[in-house]
């Protein structure tokens, strides 16, 4: 492994050699024993990773995030549960259908205009 290959490997897998594939790790260890430049690169990458890790930190309480998420999901489940139980949903569904039917009747049978319009208003209108 050349110094340049070692540098690319550092960029690929990071500064912890334990995370490297076994073959590359063995070659890297040999290089580290013979080339002080390689050790300098490794030391720099180790410091760099530490700085990067500090810059990545997010200061929140895990428990608070989990609790907030659980409460929000419970609220969503409650809302969905209520909606599925609501009898009005079926009535509204029927109303829309009846409204469309009434309007269609008024269109195809002029003698029934009043009945169709009334049905559309009374049932379909309620659904809108």
């Amino acid at each position: 492994m050349t110094l340049q290959e070692f540098d690319t490997a550092l960029l690929t897998w990071g500064s912890d050699l334990e995370n490297w594939p076994a073959g590359a790790r063995a070659e890297a260890r040999s290089l580290l024993e013979t080339d002080p430049q390689a050790q300098l690169l490794l030391d720099e990458m180790t410091l760099f990773n530490a700085e990067l890790g500090a810059a990545m930190a997010v200061g929140t309480s895990d428990g608070a995030i989990a609790a907030k998420t659980q409460a929000a999901l419970q609220q969503r489940r409650d809302t969905v549960g209520l909606w599925s139980l609501l009898p009005l949903r079926k009535i509204l569904g029927f109303g829309s259908l009846a409204g469309v039917g009434g309007a269609a009747m008024a269109f195809v049978a002029p003698s029934a205009v009043n009945t169709g319009a009334l049905l559309a208003i009374a049932l379909g209108g309620g659904a809108l």
């Binding site: 690319t8 995370n19 990067l52 929140t60 969503r76």
Partner: protein, 184 residues
């Protein structure tokens, strides 16, 4: 994993059978991590909350159809959240990123005022450098450094080859290391 600490697959299977306690344990285990990714990626607090909630809402609604043997539950959760985070940030790209209001917590309390200022400046500089990376490089470096994910795990989350992730990591680390060297 032990009986007291069941793995994700067991918890998700139980969730599919309507076990809300199992689902809550999954939320406890993963929600803070997904939230941390969203915040570090630049999502505002409320947006990060919503992304995490939407991810688990999808999980709750899909659990009944889930079959073991496919992608790991954690990988699947990360994949949903990561895609939502990237899409979200793309959709509001013109808006400046939400500053991290909690970063001061990580400056050594025992440091001198000069050292603390120096630490804050370094951290702000590195955060700006992370924020300047292209989407996938930025997410890859967050998953690697903040979440400790291997290149193979990141590849599964992104649904790409490990070689593709290695290229992302090289580019991301090279760019960040250049910034770091300028800081020294």
């Amino acid at each position: 994993m032990t009986l007291d600490d069941p793995d994700d697959d067991a918890l998700f299977k139980a969730t599919g059978e309507g076990d809300q306690i199992a689902f809550n344990r999954l939320v406890q285990r993963h929600a803070p991590r997904l939230y941390a990714i969203a915040r570090r990626y630049g999502c505002a607090t409320a947006d990060a909350d919503e992304i995490v909630q939407d991810t688990f809402w999808r999980a709750w609604n899909s659990a009944g159809d889930w079959q073991p043997g496919g992608a790991k539950v954690a990988t699947w959760l990360y994949r949903i959240a990561v895609n939502r985070i990237i899409d979200h940030r793309r959709s509001i790209k013109r808006r400046p990123e939400d500053p991290m209001d909690d970063k001061d917590d990580f400056v050594d309390a025992a440091a001198s005022p000069e050292q603390a200022l120096d630490d804050r400046q370094k951290m702000a500089f590195m955060q700006a450098a992370i924020g300047a990376l292209p989407d996938r490089q930025r997410m890859a470096i967050i998953l690697s450094t903040q979440q400790g994910k291997s290149n193979a795990e990141i590849a599964r989350i992104f649904d790409v080859t490990e070689g593709a992730v290695e290229q992302l990591m090289v580019r991301a680390r090279r760019a960040l290391r250049e910034s770091y060297r300028r800081l020294q």
